[in-house]
Symmetry: C2
Subunit: 427 residues, 2 copies
């Protein structure tokens, strides 16, 4: 396989002609495929249908402690749901609050509360001239949208295979008290699927932020979302580590069952120190009487315990693994050795991250779209939608049926080739 | 029946001795009763248990438009849920957003958003020196808690049988651009059970606020919560009326199914103009991917349409009506003609409002508590918990079983008598 960079202009032109003909064939197929969002596929939804049967009119909707889940009350979650989700979060049951259906909403609320009320008594951020967040990039577009919505300035921090560039993080947070947080997806990161190394977690817990209301926003979205039973990433638990490091209040940890049971109809959870939870509950008690306890009970009765969740996640993995492997196989077969792109090979999570030649990502995504394949918008993985190299593309293999996915991945590889040729020819 | 105010000190002392003995008898009973919160009772919860059966693993969880309710997506509610709740709200289907389980949370979010982002382009309230809200009193404590939490100054406006004192409302909003809202429970108000007259609704819709980001917060919590089939309050629809009056964007209308299906596991809804909804969706799309669609579908499959909701509300009324009537009968029998208290006789909603002699409410509630009957805290029906007359007490007859309720109401009447005697003797 000859590297594109080593081809002559003539060779590239010839190749372009052949590939363009292929591209036209794809266009003629009238495809309508989607690799844009990390959405579970129908087969994944089907494996949770038993959840619809665990609560019927014959069942007693009462908790172990006698709480009638059908009525008002219980601000921070019914006890058995706290136990289940604390186990999933690898923290103590007193360290969690169970919320409604969306951990994104919990993160939003956390920032919104800090804007209007500060953090454990600090000045409300809306009263400050400037608030900044560190954003490991590439990262999750919806995180960036929240901080952008609140006018928070976002600073890119490069991701490495081991997590964010900690030299940069340590320096920035220790120097600038306008930096109030860092967005982290520590396990099977979005979009690269990287997991933070022990060293990164330890250094994260030992940050010495200039702002005492600096918090680590630890979005543990893929905590049990492994692809392989025998090759799983495990992280040092961050709450414990922050405690050990003398920074017990420095982290908020988020998760939900959205990609475990049903997206949009799951339960979400926040874990933090008792001090932080006390601060949060001052808001929570004004905000709501309580979240959906019937749905909390439904999850507990269905999964029973953390082992039930783990067993369930194996069923998800059995559906997802062949899809990831199919895409990776196509990328390797079609693009391996051509020197026009690199990609990650995650062991969990929902994404593969692809990096094209500089300046090609937008063009690749546009070409895919014109042939009927929707990708995540190029740039979405960066704050303000601005990828400085225009090279990162997030691939989401979960949703399409495998046959469609193969077609979509092959088209994607073709578009990468065409864009790269144009790029090389224009030099 | 002799009025207490016409009794001699000696007569009052003698009466006090008799009543105190009775009170001690109650204390000996070791009661543990609760008339504090507007919580449905077990029998009310039981009538909604069929809701647990409408979605099983044999059912198709797909909407009419093909949306799979089990997956991500649909920001503002599935179409059939919008139809159902728009009908309940008496507005068009395009005028609603279906939210999660708590309309209180929607109200909180509405204020929180206005604090950080203003209203349809106005200055964010957190950037203003002063923000004020009008609070018809007595009113709903949780409304007042929200505005208090955000440091919004609350101005008491007296309630009348027809609604808030509109002379005062009109004058205040037209003069002061710091006034950004008014909390309203227009139908079967909390705690009095009053419904706004046609004139009040018309005048409300024709307010000429100095602040262009002034909004009416129309909490239609008891819209279908009648006690009598043949004697129901009906209001002029406020969105329509605001439109007619040339103030189409001046109102947010809120409701939920909390006291229709299961409190805490229902769905909530906001209705407003398209301009307001557009403004709100800018936030909503950052805040969440969507609310719980499976629960939306569950409600639609169970109630089918507004007639289903109305039929269901008759079952609630059949349980609640005897409880309201029992309390009213006891109040009339025990306190009628004594000139030591007045109370409302609602045709719907969840509360009876009681006004004692000035300066007695706290004492009455404390006496009830010492004999094992929990009432809503005196003062709770006023902003900052400060009832200027210390006279208003909210009675919530829904939760206790009827036999308990009778005991609790009789004890309450006894405590009213004892407090009133002490008050009169101290003059």
């Amino acid at each position: 396989m000859k590297k594109y960079s080593e081809m002559t202009a003539q060779e590239l032109e010839q190749l372009k002609k052949e590939l363009s003909a292929k591209y036209k064939e794809y266009q003629a197929k009238d495809l309508k495929l989607n690799m844009a969002r990390g959405k579970p596929c129908v087969e994944q939804l089907n494996i949770s249908m038993g959840m619809m049967d665990v609560l019927s009119s014959d069942d007693d909707l009462t908790c172990d402690d006698g709480t009638d889940c059908r009525n008002y009350g219980v601000l921070d979650g019914v006890h058995e749901a706290k136990v289940l989700l604390a186990d999933m979060m690898e923290v103590g049951v007193d360290n969690v609050i169970v919320y409604g259906n969306s951990s994104l909403n919990v993160m939003y609320d956390t920032i919104a509360r800090s804007m209007t009320h500060g953090v454990m008594g600090s000045t409300p951020w809306c009263k400050l001239d400037k608030v900044k967040f560190l954003c490991p990039v590439p990262g999750y577009d919806r995180h960036f949208k929240i901080t952008e919505y609140f006018g928070i300035e976002m600073i890119n921090v490069p991701m490495t295979k081991d997590g964010p560039d900690m030299d940069m993080v340590e320096k920035l947070v220790s120097e600038d008290d306008a930096i109030k947080g860092i967005w982290c997806v520590p396990k099977y990161s979005n979009p690269q699927g990287y997991s933070y190394s022990d060293e990164v977690v330890r250094r994260m817990a030992r940050l010495e932020p200039k702002a005492n209301d600096f918090r680590i926003y630890w979005d543990n979205a893929y905590t049990v979302h492994h692809l392989y039973e025998d090759d799983q990433d495990e992280l040092i638990e961050i709450l414990d580590e922050c405690k050990r490091a003398g920074n017990p209040d420095m982290v908020y940890k988020f998760a939900s069952t959205s990609k475990i049971s049903f997206p949009g109809s799951g339960v979400s959870v926040l874990a933090s120190s008792l001090n932080n939870l006390q601060d949060i509950k001052k808001q929570l008690t004004v905000q709501t009487i309580g979240h959906d306890k019937v749905n909390q009970l439904r999850h507990v009765r269905y999964f029973k315990n953390i082992d039930g969740i783990k067993a369930h996640m194996k069923l998800h993995a059995d559906i997802l693994r062949p899809k990831f492997e199919a895409v990776l196989e196509i990328l390797e077969r079609e693009l391996g050795g051509l020197d026009i792109g690199t990609w990650t090979k995650p062991k969990g999570g929902y994404f593969i991250s692809f990096d094209s030649l500089d300046g090609c990502a937008k063009d690749i995504v546009a070409r895919c779209k014109k042939a009927g394949v929707e990708m995540t918008g190029a740039g979405a993985t960066y704050p303000y939608g601005k990828d400085p190299h225009d090279s990162n593309i997030r691939i989401a293999p979960s949703y399409p049926p495998k046959d469609d996915l193969i077609v979509a991945a092959e088209l994607f590889a073709l578009c990468v080739k065409l864009s790269s040729i144009d790029k090389l020819l224009s030099k």
